[in-house]
C-alpha cells in the first residue's frame, strides 16, 4: 500500500498566511529610512561646511580691501569711521584680557570644587551640589551680563572708586563664575573615572585625602582635567553677552582689566545692532572677526585633542 504523503503546505508563497508574509517593500522601506536618518546625521557636517564657507567667502572679500598685514599689526580698530583702521589686535587684547580674568577665577575655583566633590564631599553634598552646578551653568549669559553691570561693578567700585562703569574686570569675574560649572563638572568626571585601586594604594601607604588627591588622583586624571580647562578657555573666548553688556563696546588696545574694552564677540554684536548694508566693508569686518574667533577656538580644540592623546591614561 502506498502512502501518498501530502505536505501540509506546499513550499510556495501562498504557504504563509497573508498577514505574516514577507512584504516585498520591506527592504526598500528599510533602505529609505536608513537614508533619511543618514541625511539627518549629515546635517552636522553641512553645518560645519556652511560655517567655513560663509566665514571664508565673506572674509575673502574683506581681505581684498584690507591687507592681511594691516589686519594683524595695525594698532587701531575703527572700521566704521571715515579714517578706517582694521587692527584686530585691539579686539584681541580685549578678548585675551577678559578671558584671562575669567580663567583666573574659573580654573582655581573649578578645580578646587572638582577635587572637593570627587574626593572629600560626603555623598549627600555631592548629590545636591552637582545638580546645583548644572543649574548655575544653565542661567542665560545675558542675565550674568546684567548681574556684572548692576551688581558686581558697583560692588567693585566701593573697593576701587576709580573703576569705570564699564570694565573688563567685572565682566571677566562674572564670566569666570559662569565657566566654573563646566570646569568643575568635567574635571570631577575625569577624577571619578580614576580607579579606586589607585586611591586604596595611596591610603594604604598612610597618605591623607589631600595627598591622595593631589599626588595620585589629579595626575592620573590630567588628560580629562586638561580638556575641562580647554573647554573653559573656549567658552571664555566665545562668550558674548556678558562683555557686550558689562565691558562697554569701545575698542581699546589694553591689557589692563580696569579699563573698558571691546572683544571680538562684542564688536560683532555692536555692528549687528546698527544698520549696516549687506555687502558693505563694515558688514564684512564681522565675518573677518568671526573667522579669527573660529580659528582661535579651533586651535584650542586641536590643543585639547593633542593633550588628551598625550596624557591619556588607560586602565
Amino acid at each position: 500500500m502506498s502512502v501518498t504523503v501530502t505536505l501540509p503546505m506546499a513550499p510556495s508563497d501562498n504557504a504563509v498566511s497573508e498577514r505574516l508574509r514577507k512584504r516585498a517593500t520591506r527592504h526598500v522601506k528599510e533602505r529609505i529610512i536608513e537614508a533619511v536618518l543618514l541625511a539627518a546625521a549629515l546635517v552636522s557636517v553641512f553645518t560645519t561646511l556652511a560655517i567655513v564657507y560663509i566665514l571664508v567667502s565673506e572674509s575673502w572679500v574683506f581681505f581684498q580691501h584690507v591687507p592681511l598685514k594691516d589686519f594683524l599689526f595695525d594698532t587701531q580698530w575703527t572700521p566704521l569711521f571715515d579714517d578706517a583702521h582694521y587692527g584686530i589686535m585691539v579686539l584681541l587684547s580685549g578678548t585675551i584680557t577678559s578671558s584671562a580674568v575669567a580663567l583666573l577665577v574659573a580654573i582655581p575655583l573649578g578645580t578646587i570644587i572638582a577635587i572637593y566633590l570627587s574626593e572629600f564631599a560626603p555623598f549627600k553634598v555631592r548629590e545636591i551640589a552637582k545638580p546645583f552646578l548644572e543649574l548655575l551653568g544653565g542661567v542665560p549669559t545675558i542675565i550674568y551680563g546684567y548681574f556684572a553691570l548692576v551688581f558686581l561693578t558697583p560692588l567693585l567700585q566701593m573697593i576701587y572708586p576709580d573703576l569705570p562703569g564699564f570694565n573688563l574686570l567685572s565682566a571677566g569675574i562674572v564670566m569666570g563664575i559662569m565657566i566654573i560649572p563646566y570646569v568643575a563638572s568635567l574635571s570631577e568626571d575625569a577624577m571619578r573615572a580614576v580607579p579606586m585601586a589607585l586611591r586604596e594604594g595611596s591610603y594604604a601607604m598612610g597618605a591623607t585625602r589631600l595627598q591622595t588627591s593631589l599626588r595620585v588622583v589629579v595626575p592620573a586624571a590630567t588628560s580629562g582635567i586638561a580638556s575641562a580647562y580647554i573647554l573653559g578657555i573656549s567658552r571664555a573666548v566665545g562668550e558674548t553677552m556678558i562683555l557686550a553688556v558689562a565691558a562697554g563696546m569701545q575698542p581699546n588696545l589694553t591689557f589692563n582689566p580696569l579699563e573698558p574694552g571691546a572683544t571680538i564677540t562684542s564688536f560683532i554684536v555692536q555692528v549687528a545692532l546698527g544698520d549696516l548694508p549687506h555687502g558693505s566693508i563694515g558688514y564684512q569686518t564681522i565675518f573677518a572677526a568671526g573667522l579669527t574667533l573660529m580659528l582661535m577656538t579651533l586651535a584650542f580644540n586641536l590643543l585639547g585633542y593633542w593633550l588628551r592623546k598625550r596624557y591619556r591614561e588607560v586602565y
Binding site: K29, E30, E34, L37, L38, A40, A41, V43, S44, V45, T47, T48, A50, I51, I54, L55, S57, E58, L109, I112, I115, Y116, L117, F120, A129, P131, L133, E134, L135, G138, V139, P140, T141, I142, I143, Y144, G145, Y146, F147, V150, G206, A207, T208, L210, Q211, S213, G238, E239, T240, M241, A244, V245, T265, V269, A272, L273, G290, L293, M294, N301
Partner: protein
C-alpha cells in the same frame, strides 16, 4: 631603631598633613559657597528690583518709550514662536542623527567624520552660528530677519546637545533587547521604533529640555541676524487680518525675544528701564530654572527606576 625624636618628627609630619587635609576640606566648601552665594545674589537682586514691575500689564503690554508702561508681550510671544520652530527642527533631526549613529552607522570614515563634527560643533561659539545664519538664512536663502531664521539658527545650535543626549540614552539600553527583537524577525527600523525609541524616550526628553533651556537664553546669535529690538506688534495669526494671512505667515514676521528685550532695556541709561530689565530677567531665569530643574528631576527619576 627609631629614636624618640624621629617619632616626634613623624607625628609632627602627620599632624601637618592632617591640618592641610582639614584646611582643604574647608576650602572646598568655601569654593562651593562662592558659587551658591553668587547665584543667590543674582537671583535676589533681580527679584528685589524686578518683582515690583511684575503684574499682569507687564505681560500684556508692548515695549514702550515710557518705562512704566512697557511690557514683554511681543518678547514672550516671539520667544514662544521661535522655540516652536527650534523644536520642530532640532528634535526630529537630532533624534534621527542620534539613532543613525547608534543603530545604523557602519564603522567607516564617514561615521568618524560625522562624530568629530558633532564634537567640534558643540565647541563653536554661539555668535559664530549667528554669522552663519546671517550669511546663509538671512541673505542666501532670503528668509530675512524672521522667526524662521532665528528658530533654525537656534536649532543648529542645540543640535549637538540633542544628538549627544539621544546617543547616551540609546547606549544605555542593553544589547539583549535588540537581540530579542531581531530574533523575532524584526527589521532594524522595527527594532528602533518599537523598542529603542520608547525605552530611551525619557533620556531623550531630558536632553531636549536642556537644549531648549539653552536656546531660550541665547541672545548673541539672534542679535547677529539683526533682530529688531523695538517691536510693538505681534506676528499675524493664521487666517487673521485683511487680506487673510496664510497658515505659516507668522514664521516670516519680524520679532523680538525675551533676552533681546532684556538686553535692550539693560543698555538704556535710565534707572526705570533697569527695573524692567530685572523683571524680564527674572521671568527668563525662572523659565530656564524650571526647564533645567525638570530635566534634572527627570534624570534622577530615570536613574532610580530603570534597572535593566
Amino acid at each position: 631603631m627609631l629614636q624618640p625624636q624621629d617619632i616626634e618628627a613623624i607625628r609632627a609630619l602627620i599632624a601637618r598633613a592632617k591640618r592641610w587635609d582639614a584646611f582643604f576640606g574647608v576650602l572646598g566648601i568655601i569654593a562651593l559657597m562662592i558659587g551658591v552665594l553668587t547665584f543667590s545674589a543674582l537671583f535676589l537682586d533681580m527679584a528685589v528690583r524686578g518683582i515690583p514691575r511684575l503684574d499682569l500689564d507687564f505681560f500684556t503690554n508692548f515695549p514702550s518709550r515710557r518705562a512704566a508702561s512697557a511690557g514683554i508681550l511681543s518678547a514672550w510671544v516671539g520667544t514662544t514662536l521661535v522655540m516652536v520652530v527650534t523644536a520642530c527642527a532640532a528634535v526630529p533631526l537630532g533624534i534621527a542623527a542620534g539613532v543613525y549613529l547608534e543603530e545604523y552607522a557602519p564603522k567607516n570614515w564617514l561615521t568618524d567624520i560625522i562624530e568629530i563634527n558633532i564634537t567640534n560643533l558643540a565647541g563653536v561659539p554661539s555668535i559664530v552660528y549667528g554669522l552663519l545664519a546671517l550669511g546663509l538664512f538671512v541673505y542666501q536663502f532670503g528668509l530675512g530677519q524672521s522667526i524662521l531664521s532665528a528658530g533654525l539658527t537656534l536649532a543648529l545650535l542645540i543640535l549637538p546637545v540633542v544628538i549627544v543626549a539621544t546617543r547616551e540614552s540609546i547606549r544605555a539600553i542593553p544589547v539583549s533587547v535588540r537581540e530579542g527583537s531581531y530574533a523575532c524577525g524584526a527589521t532594524t527600523w522595527q527594532t528602533v521604533s518599537d523598542h529603542i525609541l520608547p525605552y530611551s524616550s525619557a533620556g531623550i526628553l531630558t536632553g531636549v529640555i536642556i537644549g531648549m533651556a539653552r536656546a531660550i537664553g541665547e541672545t548673541a546669535p539672534i542679535i547677529t541676524i539683526g533682530a529688531l529690538t523695538f517691536i510693538a506688534f505681534l506676528p499675524t495669526a493664521p487666517f487673521a487680518g485683511d487680506p487673510p494671512a496664510g497658515l505659516f505667515d507668522w514664521a516670516l514676521a519680524p520679532f523680538t525675544v525675551m533676552p533681546i528685550q532684556m538686553f535692550n532695556w539693560t543698555s538704556r541709561p535710565e534707572a526705570a528701564f533697569l527695573a524692567n530689565a530685572a523683571a524680564a530677567g527674572f521671568v527668563l531665569v525662572l523659565m530656564t530654572l524650571a526647564m533645567n530643574g525638570a530635566a534634572i528631576w527627570l534624570r534622577y527619576r530615570l536613574r532610580k527606576n530603570i534597572k535593566w
